[in-house]
């Protein structure tokens, strides 16, 4: 059944940021609260999740799975459990490790063999363009983890003595 494409509402951009985990806690909490009573928001949210999945090669198998699950749960007793204490933001196992991709740059006056801490001058906001390709190549080597190709290589002749 064809329907005219709904115009994006101003709220939809907030929902989009919500999907990316980029809303502040208060706004995100408000968003979560209103989701339960706002079918249109829920619909848009699930659409955005579907877009992400589709981009990652996951397409629409079992489109009615959610309905089937919820239909079964209708006859289930509603889960009521005492509210847990506030979860710490950081997982208990990990003390603030972060994605390798987040590199903070700082200006450094190069003096060999001097402790680097003493030399970190500027605030770490200086940008370095295009760090990602190098990280990608290194990560593919070190962890076989990268999701991109285009890194063909050929051996290099370093035969001169002393190299």
């Amino acid at each position: 059944m064809m329907q005219p494409a709904p115009h994006p509402h101003p709220d939809d951009e907030t929902l989009s940021a919500f999907v990316d985990g980029e809303l502040s806690d208060d706004i995100a909490e408000t968003m979560i609260k209103q989701l339960s009573s706002n079918a249109a928001s829920r619909a848009r949210l699930t659409e955005y999740w579907a877009v992400g999945d589709a981009l990652r090669g996951l397409s629409g198998q079992a489109p009615d799975l959610t309905q089937r699950v919820m239909a079964v749960l209708e006859s289930e007793p509603t889960v009521l459990a005492p509210r847990r204490k506030q979860h710490t933001r950081q997982p208990t196992l990990w003390l603030a490790a972060a994605t390798v991709a987040a590199i903070a740059w700082g200006l450094w006056q190069a003096v060999p063999r001097t402790p680097s801490e003493a030399l970190m001058a500027a605030a770490p906001s200086t940008q370095h363009d295009n760090v990602m390709p190098y990280l990608a190549a290194h990560q593919d080597f070190a962890q076989a983890m990268v999701s991109t190709s285009e890194m063909q290589f050929t051996p290099v002749n370093l035969a001169e003595a002393g190299r």
Binding site: W105, L107, F141, F153, T154
Partner: protein
């Protein structure tokens, strides 16, 4: 697997108690775990975590011939497979309706973290065998690899009780904080022997002649103890039109990359670090080249390599 038991008894009963193993025993443990990863047949699923990012991969390992054959498949994100056999490695990706295959540089990945000749690692890492644990339903023993200097990160492995195959590996910093973790969620040891179908397709061999070094007169003055250069190639990088030269240094466990390319404009010396410091990076100009050194190693190692680069006259 009697030898493993004897080793454990000796360690726990000996005078050293919680101390590190003496070097020869340490070397033996390291070698056993390295061999286990190559020679044990297994299939399973493991999870890689670094910070909030988490990836799930399935893996099969068929030890065939002198070197292993393994297959690693991404279970989330883009469909991608890494295959390693006979010292070579390729990545296989679906690109729309096409299959793309490309050669890779490194034929090893978790759980095969240790090099084929793993004994020498005991020169740079102290080994401590710790308490038993359980990972993916199998009993294992904790094995700590503690760096003897500040040039490398440590590891805590959980080695399966009988085979000593690493079921879990946590890269840790000097304060013992986890930087990255691999864990098997599910594993079956001794899977059925594989069929004769070749896992590595016939790929065109590279031109016999290696390309001349882009880097011309750039040399490394000194490397941190235990590190040597294990690769030097010219390669394409994603989103870059010109090739760069990529060298890799390693002590067998830690990897540090150097990228060299002609400096288009004067290169500012910059230092970079991932949050909480697992990856350290330096950019500087050496001769007429831009050099980027980056690796999963503490700052002193990256600094040492970067600052020792020079242009030969």
């Amino acid at each position: 697997m009697k030898a493993a038991w004897l080793l454990l008894i000796a360690v726990s009963g000996g005078a050293h108690g919680a101390d590190s193993l003496p070097q020869t025993r340490a070397a033996a443990w390291l070698q056993r775990m390295a061999d286990a990863a190559r020679l044990t047949a297994y299939e399973g699923v493991f999870v890689v975590q670094h910070g909030e990012a988490m990836h799930t991969l399935s893996i099969t390992n068929h030890p065939g011939g002198p070197l292993k054959e393994s297959r690693l498949t991404a279970m989330d994100g883009l469909q991608r497979e890494v295959r390693c056999a006979n010292g070579k490695s390729i990545t296989v990706m679906a690109d729309g309706t096409h299959i793309k295959m490309e050669k890779r540089l490194n034929g090893r990945h978790f759980p095969d973290l240790l090099p084929a000749d793993a004994g020498p690692l005991a020169n740079w890492y102290a080994v401590k065998v710790g308490k038993p644990g359980r990972v993916a339903g199998l009993d294992c023993n904790q094995v700590e690899l503690i760096p003897k200097d500040s040039f490398r990160w440590g590891y805590v492995l959980c080695a399966e009780k009988n085979t000593t195959l690493p079921l879990k590996a946590v890269m840790i910093n000097a304060a013992g904080q986890p930087l990255m973790q691999y864990t098997f969620a599910e594993i079956k040891l001794g899977a059925a022997a594989h069929t004769e179908s070749p896992s590595m397709p016939d790929m065109p061999e590279p031109a016999k002649q290696a390309k001349p070094a882009l880097s011309g007169r750039i040399e490394v003055g000194a490397l941190p103890p235990g590190f040597s250069r294990i690769a030097a190639v010219r390669r394409q990088l994603p989103n870059k039109s010109e090739e760069v030269e990529h060298w890799v240094f390693s002590d067998g466990l830690a990897y540090i990359s150097l990228f060299l390319e002609p400096a288009i404009k004067p290169v500012e010396t910059l230092k970079g670090q991932s949050k909480k410091g697992m990856v350290n990076m330096v950019t500087r100009q050496v001769g007429n080249m831009q050099a980027i050194v980056l690796g999963d190693a503490p700052w002193p190692a990256v600094e040492a390599i970067a600052m020792s680069l020079y242009a030969r006259k």
